[in-house]
Subunit: 198 residues, 2 copies
DNA sequence: TCCAAATCTAGAACGTGTTTCAATAATCAT
DNA sequence: ATGATTATTGAAACACGTTCTAGATTTGGA
């Protein structure tokens, strides 16, 4: 995967181009959502030719999911440095997901763009998707385990995290596609977490 | 909603056209998945003009999600007439979802087309989506309640059904997009059901 | 430094979802 | 039955993701 994690290869100019492309993508997504991220517009705003854009990212979906990965990486980094407050696993998980949800909902267009791309992604984007999944899993797992830094997550923890992620994603998808209200996202997750962490 | 449930309005000729369109959609989806459902091809196969197709269904997504609704309606009808075998709620839910999953996986192209459409759907397709959700909820709820036909589902039952649906859908989505194996779908659901129905 | 290979650019071109339009056909109220 | 309204048709046109091409530019090794 040409992930944002690896020391990005290529010359300086190439790393610069890549950064400009992802910046332009985020900016366009933030202003007008999925539809506003038009490949010609991205290329223009990033000052590269359309063909070059396609050399860096083989499709609009790759582009957006990679951008999503960059965002999640930053979010996970931030959350890693702070102690998660809350006395129970339920409280801690809701703290993290509630916060993240609220943050996402403050940039609805951007979230719509990135979520839609995630939904669209097929096997050719598996690596990028996996990267995002890892970040999310790490955040939730850390919240479940709480202060106990060294606790090895059990099988069951992993399973629970998976289910919570699924519920969160589905709820987010409902909101992004305009089928449910913003509050419903957190509410759905809360119900699921209550059922699972008891 | 111009649902498949309501006594479909319009003249005989119109009902016929509508049926031909949905039949052509299913046939094309079954043969080549989402990409094979091209609006021009649907119109040709259904013997209507492209403009007419768009008068009946305002977008490819509406078309596919309506088709999905018709399929689910049939599945739910069938399941309604049979007693769900199994001694525990877990067994019964897995029977229903396992069966449905297997059936879907026998028509991978069709399932890919319908699931992708479902993922794509925005607010303008809310009614059709809701219709599909109702059918699925009905099937799972019946499985949880088992033989006790008259048992009123509790709040908790409803919440559990929602979570199971989310997990099932996410797993199906992973399979449809080629990111996970066929068996993983049933496996994921089984793990979730075990966590929830204990 | 110089050459070959790789990369980048500008722009045309293609495919498919969607829109539009003028002409024709079907339906419905009187 | 007739005129008005509505539905259907066939075809053109548009938008945007994607592909392709031919020529410039940059890069990296001898």
């Amino acid at each position: 995967m040409t992930s944002v994690t690896e020391a990005t290869p290529g010359s300086n100019a190439q790393r610069e181009r890549r950064r400009r492309i992802l910046d332009a993508t985020i900016a366009l997504a933030d202003s007008g959502g999925f539809d506003a991220v038009q490949m010609r517009a991205v290329a223009d705003n990033a000052d590269v030719a359309l063909g070059t854009l396609y050399r860096y990212f083989p499709s609009k979906i790759h582009l957006l999911v990679t951008a999503l990965g960059r965002q999640f990486e930053r979010a996970e980094e931030q959350s890693r440095n702070r102690q998660v407050p809350g006395d129970t696993a339920h409280e801690r998980v809701m703290y993290i997901l509630g916060h993240t949800t609220t943050a996402l909902q403050k940039q609805p267009e951007l979230t719509e763009a990135l979520t839609r791309a995630f939904m669209f992604a097929d096997a050719s984007v598996a690596d990028e998707i996996h990267f995002v999944g890892m970040k999310l899993t790490a955040m939730i797992t850390r919240a479940i385990d709480g202060t106990d830094e060294n606790r090895e997550p059990t099988e069951e923890d992993t399973a629970i995290v998976r289910v919570i992620s699924d519920v969160w994603f589905t709820a987010l998808m409902g909101w992004v596609t305009g089928r449910t209200q913003a509050e419903d996202v957190t509410k759905s997750v809360d119900v699921a977490v209550r059922l699972l962490l008891r």
